[in-house]
Symmetry: C2
Subunit: 213 residues, 2 copies
């Protein structure tokens, strides 16, 4: 990951921005999904949600070899990947200062198709562990047929920036005495009770699943 | 919103796809944020998370006039907007059949800058109400200076598709007897206790906030 060019420079509210690698990796690791943007053959933008996993400075995506996203990423195309975690609704006395608490990352990089079977297996394990730590040992790994039927793209992270906001709303002094409520409604992606299919009881990695933060 | 072209055609798992307008609008309305993709001046894709609101067949986005996103959308550029709601982790006995329960929409359209002050006011109200129903009456609307300091983009939804998955994992028959747990961990974006700034008690629209579904 190199220093940022103009492409990933944070222009707005730079105090909310960061190029710190650990911060960027933490957000990528906590976000369950990302949104991948690429330019299609007609030159038009396309954004697709998908599951990802990070291994070192590489993001792995996977899917059907027939999917538009995987077909496009095969070609070594440039991509932008955003991962966003919502932490709260920030309600100020003025609508102008309403905001959200969040942590987000925008990555720029180029994609390559992963053909090596060992790297594919590594990507599969990373994706399963990314969603549910411990799950890779609690399920059957992909066999040869399944591995062949799954396309994997690797995105080398060339540039990335993080942006985050936390804390209470910040109103203008002139608004402080207005009779409106101001504050934060915290938000968490919360797990419900596991719903079993079959008779096996939920193992620890399922019963104890929680958002990673 | 017109019939889909090749651009928005759902190729993979078409049984999970839909072009139903009510379904598409419901998902856009429930998702608190979206991810906007556009092609920058260098021809490269950029994806940015942002708050949106839908009014009829138009998506409104807003931000600083200096932000890259708003500067880009001013120019009438083509955009792709994705909104995704996570409903659960789907854990099968085989890693191959792991999945997520989700509802997502991908929109294609062209952006225009909103300059008319009445339309800007309508967009601001829609955005505030989108995040917290009832909030537009519980806060101070934007004054002239704030309105001038906020850029608004309107995206006319030209094409859109929805994709969703729900229900338990579906394993191959050969895997049903494996000793692994299979099932769903439901996920909800859940509000915590409101954190007040100042002495006003949380009104109903704050205390009763919940994800819209």
């Amino acid at each position: 990951m190199t220093a940022q060019s103009d492409r990933s420079k944070i222009r707005r509210l730079p105090d909310r921005g960061s190029y710190d690698q650990a911060t960027i990796y933490d957000i990528l690791d906590e976000a369950l999904i990302c949104h991948v943007g690429f330019v299609d053959d007609a030159g038009l933008p396309v954004v697709i949600p998908t599951i990802h996993a990070r291994v070192g400075n590489v993001l792995y995506l996977h899917g059907s070899p027939a999917s538009r996203m995987l077909r496009s990423l095969r070609a070594g195309r440039q991509v932008s990947v955003a991962a966003t975690i919502l932490d709260g609704l920030v309600l100020a006395k003025s609508q102008f200062h309403h905001s959200m608490n969040y942590r987000s990352v925008v990555v720029f990089g180029s994609a390559r198709e992963v053909k090596d079977e060992d790297e594919k297996a590594l990507a599969f394990q990373a994706i399963v562990e990314h969603l549910v730590p411990g799950r890779s040992e609690g399920s059957r790994p992909a066999n040869d047929k399944e591995t062949k039927a799954t396309a994997v793209a690797a995105i080398d992270i060339e540039e990335a920036s993080a942006k985050q906001r936390s804390g209470p709303p910040v109103d203008d002094d002139a608004d402080i005495e207005l009779p409106y409520w101001a504050g934060v409604i915290p938000l968490t992606l919360a797990p419900g009770e596991p719903e079993s299919t079959g008779t096996v009881s939920p193992p620890d990695h399922v019963g104890e699943w929680k958002s990673r933060r």
